[in-house]
């Protein structure tokens, strides 16, 4: 069992690395890269949402800022792309700390609304700051690999996103087994109780918010270098944030591979709707319907359903005598 639990992820990783050479055309490589990008973002989102239970619909703000930060550093300051990418992500992380200090003061629906307000504000700022960002006409970012044709670029970015996904998964796993992670899970279970036991909940939440933003910003930076054309309406779209939430919820927010599983279902489905029906709003409606169905019927996600415990209490009520006997030992 232990061998299988270790072997399966390794086998899946090997298959993922080989994927671009296994598929028959570059379109499937492109779709694969997009899926892995969403998987990395959803896993990053889950660093906040899964551990603390704080649902952010506005994480696309960090995606957009990471993309624009990378793009602006490359185009305006001639910073090499390999440096621009982490610098931009770090700047976004610092920004996220500032936002987080204010945002995590509210809980539940109020936090969701604050997160939506954040992405809407960023959209307005980027569109309004025309001289710097290009406004609504967007920003063009030169390809870091000009000698490669489009298909080969998809292959490179597929693997770059795969590395990012690996880092996000590793971070989630590392946090999950740490004392910091236990504090975050305690916040999800009962924030006031955690605070009363000495957990500095505000600092923990801000740290999780910033860590989550870091990886999403890296995804945004890679996207900017990959696509080369940034449109503020898309980059700061609530839909991207909603995808992260949907993928995580569908797969299971309490599981390391939950958001990845959700991304493997939702991202290809979205691409299918686009190809089958063209540029209609059907994929948006399908996303909404799926989100409603997941929340109503499978709020714990697929992986929780598959690994569900037996119903009812598993530990019998002890008699007072047994309890006293235990206490006396």
């Amino acid at each position: 069992m232990r061998t299988a639990s270790r072997g399966l992820p390794l086998l899946a990783a090997a298959l993922a690395i080989a994927y671009p050479w296994l598929v028959p055309n570059y379109y499937l490589v492109y779709a694969g890269a997009l899926t892995v990008m969403y998987a990395a973002m959803a896993t990053s989102w889950n660093l906040l949402g899964g551990f603390t239970g704080y649902v952010s619909l506005g994480h696309s703000a960090f995606f957009g800022l990471g993309a624009y930060g990378t793009g602006l550093l490359v185009t305006r300051l001639d910073v090499p792309w390999a440096l621009a990418l982490p610098v931009s992500a770090l700047l976004v992380t610092v920004f996220a700390v500032g936002v987080g200090v204010a945002a995590v003061r509210v809980r539940g629906a109020s936090f969701v609304i604050v997160s939506i307000a954040l992405v809407s504000m960023m959209n307005l700022v980027v569109q309004g700051w025309r001289s710097l960002t290009g406004g609504s006409t967007g920003l063009q970012v030169p390809s870091p690999f000009p000698d490669l044709h489009r298909g080969q670029t998809h292959m490179v970015f597929f693997h770059l996103f795969l590395v990012l996904l690996g880092l996000a998964l590793l971070s989630w796993w590392y946090v999950s087994r740490s004392r910091f992670g236990a504090g975050l899970r305690a916040i999800r279970e009962d924030e006031d109780k955690a605070e009363s036991l000495g957990v500095p909940t505000a600092a923990y939440k801000v740290a999780a918010f910033a860590l989550s933003a870091l990886f999403v910003a890296l995804a945004g930076g890679l996207y900017a270098l990959w696509f080369g054309s940034l449109d503020p309406i898309f980059m700061f779209s609530i839909l991207i944030g909603s995808y992260m939430v949907l993928m995580s919820l569908l797969g299971g927010v309490r599981h390391l591979y939950g958001p990845l599983l959700g991304a493997l279902i939702v991202a290809p489905a979205g691409e299918y709707f686009l190809i089958a029906l063209g540029e209609t709003q059907v994929h948006l409606a399908a996303t909404g319907v799926l989100l409603i169905l997941v929340v109503l019927f499978m709020p714990e996600g697929i992986l929780s359903r598959l690994t569900r415990r037996r119903p009812g209490p598993s530990i019998p009520e002890e008699s007072a005598g047994q309890r006293l006997e235990g206490a006396a030992r």
């Binding site: 590392y174 004392r179 006031d192 957990v199 007072a320």
Partner: protein, 243 residues
């Protein structure tokens, strides 16, 4: 030596005073009872002392240190632990994880270290053993009976090493045998040097266990003294017992 002292502590909700000008003093090493009719402000007083709600005015002093308006986690770090009226545990964490959450960590290296540090786990098991629930360490807290959850809640509070423990209705909803067990535990822990403030409606428990009893009515203390004196105090009889 004074453990906790509140001076003129006042809190109103929507203009209705829940705690009004409450000046209370607890001495170190005592088991103190806090009694009063429903709605007399006992739990609000707990919430004010532990920082869960902020007072409109007044001071909370612990061992001479002003903790007024401090965040609850800072008050916990200062040495004040509490349980809740309705027992609260982390339902989807295991019993052992519930305990380990309560360990104070300040350094980044400590925060990122593995949860199940051998020394801390052993200390957690020590408390679980004293509560008689060490055999449940791998169970999720939601699978425990209410009585077992009460014991876990108390064990987790003790894991944070408080010197002053506030217990909000520890006998609420538990069977008589467990009440006896809780009384014994509180006495043992008190003998080890911990001070207690216990809100409780079970008068036999309060009068039998406590060294000192404070009576609240309409948000303010109206009497304080040893149980024998409190039982006879006409203000208490009028306000609390209605005679």
């Amino acid at each position: 030596m004074t453990s906790l002292r509140t001076e003129g502590l006042t809190k109103s909700f929507g203009g209705v005073p829940a705690v009004h000008d409450a000046t209370v003093e607890l001495r170190e090493g005592r088991i103190n009872g806090l009694i009063g009719p429903n709605g007399s402000g006992k739990t609000t007083f707990f919430n004010l002392v532990t920082g869960m709600i902020r007072p409109d005015s007044g001071l909370v002093l612990y061992r001479g240190r002003d903790l007024t308006r401090h965040a609850p986690h800072r008050i916990a770090h200062a040495g004040i632990g509490r349980t809740f009226q309705l027992c609260r545990v982390f339902p989807r964490l295991t019993v052992l994880e519930n305990m380990l959450v309560a360990v104070r960590r300040t350094r980044l290296r400590e925060l990122l270290a593995g949860l199940h540090d051998r020394g801390e786990a052993e200390r957690a098991r020590h408390w679980l053993r004293r509560m008689g629930i060490e055999h449940l360490e791998h169970a999720e807290a939601r699978d425990l009976s209410y009585g077992q959850q009460k014991l876990l809640e108390l064990a987790a509070v003790l894991m944070a090493e408080p010197d002053l423990v506030l217990l909000d209705e520890p006998a609420g909803g538990v069977n008589p045998a467990l009440i006896d067990r809780i009384v014994t535990l509180v006495r043992e822990l008190n003998a080890e040097g911990r001070t207690f403030l216990v809100v409780e409606h079970n008068m036999d428990m309060v009068m039998g266990m406590c060294d000192h009893v404070i009576v609240f009515d309409r948000g303010a203390p109206i009497a304080a003294g040893p149980p024998s004196a409190i039982k006879e105090d006409p203000r208490v009889l009028e306000a609390y017992l209605g005679v």
